[in-house]
Amino acid sequence: MRGFKSVLAATLAAAMVFGSVLTVCADASEGSATGAGTSEGHVDKKLINVVLPTIAEGSTPFAYTMDPEGLVKETTHAKYGESVIFPTSDDSQVYFNNGKKGGDGTDKDYIVYANTSAKQTVTNKSSQEVELTVTVAASTAATDIPLVTKAALSGAENASLYLGLKVDEEAAVAVSTETVATQTVTIEGTPANFKIAVKSDNSGYEYRELTLAEYKELVEDDTKTQADFDATWATSEFQLEGAVTTDKEITSTTTAPTLTVTWSWVDPEAEAEAAAAAAEAAAAEAAAAAETFKTTYAEVLALTAETAEGTEEEAAAIAAAAEAFEALDDAVKTILAEDSIDAELFETLAGYNEANAAPTVSAESIVAGGEGVEIHLPAGVTISEIQKKKSDGTYNTLPTDLYTLEDIDGGKKLTVKASIKTQFAAATSIKIVFSSGDPITLDVE
C-alpha cells in the first residue's frame, strides 16, 4: 500500500511537471513576436571608368612621316647606319615611331619605324561592358595631300595618302576629310573586381573597386601584385596604319593632314533600358492616338454601302476622316490597320457616298412594254417628272397612262408601255427628271 502511494505521488508530481512544460512549449509554438526592421538603402551596383590614352601637349595623335619619293630609308642609313629600323618588305612609306626595339640584343636601342603606329590601349575598368567609340578626323588644309581609301591608292592619279584606323583585329576604316573614321568596340566589364563596402566615413555603403589586399584575398594568393590585378581588366587596342603613292610627284609645299582623336562610350545596358522604355512609351502613345481616332470618327467608320446616304455632310465627314488618317504617324496607322482601318477604307466609304449621292439607273435604255429599269434614289431625292422626246428634239411630259413607277427597295422601278411607240413616234428617248441633280436620259427600244 505504502509503495503504491509512493508511485501514485511520483506519478502525479511528474504529470504536473510535464503538464507545465507542455504548456510552455505550446505557448512558444503558438506565440508571436514583433520587431522593427530598417532599410540599409540601395547601392547601385554599376561603376563606369574607362582608361584612355592622352596626347602630349605639342604633339599630334598618331604622329607620322610620309615619304612618297622613298627618300627616308636611303638617307637614314647613309647617315645613321642600321640604328634605325624600317620595314624590310611591303614598305608603304608612311612611318610611325614605335620607340626602341628593346629586348636583350645589341640592337635593343635601335629606333623602330613601322608602317603602323604603336598600339594604344583602352582599358575598361568598369563593372559592366561599355561600347567604346573612337573617331579620327582629318584636317582640310588646301595644301594637305589628299586622303584616299587603301583600294584607291594604286589607281590614284595624283600623290595620295591612306590612313586607316584599326581596332584589335578588325578591318581598318579609312580616314578621310569628308567623314570621320569611326571604330566601335564592346569591351567587357569585370564585376568580380568590385564590392559593396561601407564608406570610409561610415555614412553608408558604396560600390567600389577592390583594393589590392581584397583582390589577393579574393583569389587566395598573397603573391599577387598590382600588375596582376591591373591585368584582370578587359582592354582593346587601337592603332593607325598608313600608305602613300610611290610614283607620283609632290611639291615642297605639300603638307600632311593632322588628325583629331575623340573618344566616347555608351553603357549598352542603360541604352537598351532607355530604348525599351522609349519604345514602350511610344507604343502607349500610338495606342491612345488610335483609340482617339476611332472615337472621333466613329460615325464615319460605321458607314457601309447600305448605310451611306450620299449627303454632302456625309461626304465632308468622310473627307475629314481621310485627311486626319493621312496625318497620323505610321505607328498609329499600323494599329488601326489591325481593325481594317486604312486609306483604302476611306476610298471605299467615299465611293459609297458618291454612289448614293446621285440617282442611278440600272440600264442605259428601256424596252417599251418590257421589264423596265430600276432607279436608285438617294435619301431626299424624288422623281419629279417623266418626259418624252418630241420631234423638235425637246422634251415634254409623258402622259401618266403610258408608264408606271413602282416602289422598290432604295428607289423606283419604271416601266414604259409598248403603245408609246405608236402614240408618239418621235419619242425615241425618255428623260427622268429628279427633285435635285441632273436628269437621266434613256433610249426607248
Partner: protein, 183 residues
C-alpha cells in the same frame, strides 16, 4: 634732422635737394621694376597658351636630310593614360539649371590634376563650360553651364587638360558626351 653732440642741426638747402632727388630715383626704380614684372608675367602667360603643335611630316628632296634627322632625334614618347570616371549624358532642367547627373572625378590613380572645357561638337571655338582645377582624388558635380543653351539635345566634346603644378597643360584627351536641356 641730424642730431650730434646734443645739438640739433637742420638740413641745408642742398641737403633737401639731395633728399628729394634720392626719393625720386627710388620711386622711379620701383615703377620700372613693377612694369618689368608685369610684362614678364604677360609673356609667360602668352607662352603657356600658345605652344606650337608639331605637324606630321611630308618628306621631299628639299627637306629629306632634315626630316631624317628629326625622325632619329625625336624621342619616342609613350602615350600617357587617364582614368576617365564621369557620366557621359548630362541632363539640365533648363539652360541655367544645375545638373543632377553631370559628374567628373579625377581618380586618385591618375598622375595629374586636371581641368576640362566643354564645347559643342560643331563649335570648338567657344566653350560652353570651363571647369576649375580638379585635383587628384577630387570630383566635380552640381555642374552648371557657362553658356545658356535652349531646350534640346547637343553633342558635345569634353577636352581634358592634364596639368602640372603651374597649371601648364602637359597632355590632353577628348571625350564625347551628350548634353540634354529639358526645357
Amino acid at each position: 634732422m641730424a642730431k650730434t653732440d646734443g645739438k640739433n642741426y637742420s638740413l641745408g638747402k642742398g641737403g633737401k635737394i639731395a633728399l628729394f632727388v634720392g626719393m625720386a630715383v627710388i620711386i622711379i626704380l620701383l615703377v620700372i621694376v613693377i612694369i618689368l614684372l608685369i610684362s614678364r608675367n604677360n609673356v609667360v602667360a602668352d607662352n603657356v597658351g600658345e605652344k606650337e603643335t608639331k605637324r606630321n611630316v611630308v618628306v621631299t628632296k628639299e627637306n629629306a636630310e632634315e626630316a631624317v634627322t628629326e625622325m632619329v632625334m625625336d624621342e619616342y614618347i609613350e602615350p600617357g593614360y587617364y582614368s576617365c570616371s564621369m557620366t557621359n549624358v548630362w541632363h539640365f532642367a533648363t539652360g541655367d539649371a544645375i545638373s543632377e547627373d553631370a559628374f567628373v572625378e579625377n581618380k586618385e590613380e591618375n598622375t595629374n590634376d586636371i581641368y576640362f572645357d566643354v564645347f559643342l561638337s560643331d563649335n570648338e571655338d567657344e566653350p560652353i563650360l570651363q571647369s576649375p582645377i580638379i585635383p587628384r582624388g577630387a570630383q566635380l558635380d552640381n555642374i552648371t553651364l557657362d553658356k545658356h543653351l535652349e531646350a534640346g539635345t547637343y553633342g558635345c566634346v569634353v577636352v581634358y587638360h592634364l596639368v602640372d603644378e603651374d597649371q601648364t597643360t602637359l597632355s590632353t584627351l577628348r571625350v564625347g558626351i551628350t548634353v540634354i536641356i529639358e526645357d
